[in-house]
């Protein structure tokens, strides 16, 4: 399990990456997928996921389609054209950041 602060900064790229390029997912599915892909190391709390999804929607990066599954509504999220560009940008940025951090940690350890 990682700290809330670490997860907070990476939540948006995670959501964008999961939905990229044309995947439709609902909230619960996103939580489960992240859990599965990270061998349960990364647990996204619903209290962080839904505010982030609504913020992305408000920013025009994702849109939502509400469908009835049996007797209940389900909201599927999908990237907009702008969201796809943002997903690419965020993924590249995150990759670069991870490499930088890796480099920093190696050099910081060696310099001690």
């Amino acid at each position: 399990m990682y700290s809330k602060d670490l997860i907070r900064g990476t939540l948006t790229p995670i959501i964008l990456k999961l939905l990229y390029p044309n995947r439709k997912m609902y909230g619960y599915e996103i939580c489960q997928k992240v859990k599965e892909l990270t061998n349960e190391d990364l647990l996204i709390k619903e209290g962080s996921l839904y505010p982030a999804l609504h913020k992305l929607m408000d920013d025009g990066l994702i849109n939502v389609e509400e469908v009835l599954i049996g007797n209940r509504p389900r909201r599927y999220y999908q990237l907009t054209a702008e969201g796809k560009l943002e997903a690419e940008h965020r993924t590249t940025e995150l990759n670069r950041f991870l490499k930088t951090m890796q480099l920093f940690l190696e050099k910081a350890t060696n310099s001690l």
Binding site: E46, P51, H54, G60, N71, P73
Partner: protein, 266 residues
């Protein structure tokens, strides 16, 4: 599959916990239902599964914090200046029909047209973009801005018979293009969160505003074809009612948001 009755219990609980944001309510409902189904498949009863799902959802904090966090995140990037421009331009649109009753070159008309253009640039690009339908709104923006520019041109530089009629049609189109989608959206929003007295009053006021605005084109037609009927004063009242109703409705909504923040911090 959960029964309608079980779904209603959860929906009611969410409402009682103050979850009123359109969309978020269905997100949380579906999330809880999925989680409950997983627990029930492991042999838990509905009540036990619901308790566990609720705990998974918000842990020790309250469920309302999810809504508060959502509102906080969405409002984070919005500046007061943007809101001021938005409502200022909206007001300009509402008072625009008054220009029909003036003759000759009118500086007020120029001001209104400029305001309208700013309003549409802002509304189409910054606000409607967030509704993820950029192309449709750019189309609307182009048509309406063209109408505004055309009306300035016609009113300032060309003298011809029927200028008044054309001017009126342009303004009526503008008001209809702005007011109806705007208020229908507002009413839809109110209906989807009709749980408190504040929402009920907001809805009632928005309804008053839309009725007043819809009456304006009719009153203008009366003025045009039966010039002996004194409807100008009546129009003043209608616009005033619409503006007041809309303003009070916004204030009530802000009061609702304030209540949510107070619940968070007190």
């Amino acid at each position: 599959m959960l029964t309608d009755k079980q779904i209603d219990i959860i929906k009611k609980d969410l409402n009682q916990n103050g979850i009123r944001m359109p969309g978020l309510e269905n997100d949380l409902l579906d999330h809880l239902l999925c989680s409950i189904e997983v627990y029930m498949s492991k042999g838990y009863s509905f009540e036990e599964a619901y308790r566990c799902a609720l705990y998974d959802l918000h842990g020790e904090s309250t469920i309302i914090t999810i809504q508060q966090e959502t509102i906080h995140l969405i409002n984070e990037g919005r500046s007061r200046v943007k809101n001021l421009i938005y409502y200022g331009c909206l007001l300009s649109c509402l008072i625009a029909p008054f220009n029909l009753f003036t003759t000759g070159v009118n500086p007020g008309l120029i001001l209104v047209c400029i305001s309208l253009s700013i309003f549409f640039i802002y509304h189409s690009i910054f606000l409607h973009r967030k509704q993820n339908d950029l192309r449709r709104n750019l189309f609307l923006f182009t048509i309406i801005t063209s109408l505004a520019v055309l009306s300035v041109f016609i009113f300032l530089f060309i003298e011809f018979e029927g200028k008044g009629l054309l001017g009126m049609l342009l303004w009526v189109s503008l008001i209809l293009a702005i007011a109806i989608p705007f208020y229908l959206k507002a009413i839809k929003r109110s209906l989807s969160m009709n749980n408190t007295m504040i929402d009920f009053f907001s809805f009632a006021l928005e309804l008053t505003a839309i009725i007043s605005l819809l009456w304006i084109p009719l009153a203008l037609s009366i003025k045009l074809f039966r010039s002996n009927v004194a409807v100008v004063f009546f129009l003043d009242d209608l616009v005033l009612i619409a503006i007041c109703a809309f303003s009070v409705s916004i204030m009530l909504k802000k009061a609702g948001e304030l209540k949510l923040y107070l619940q968070k911090y007190l």
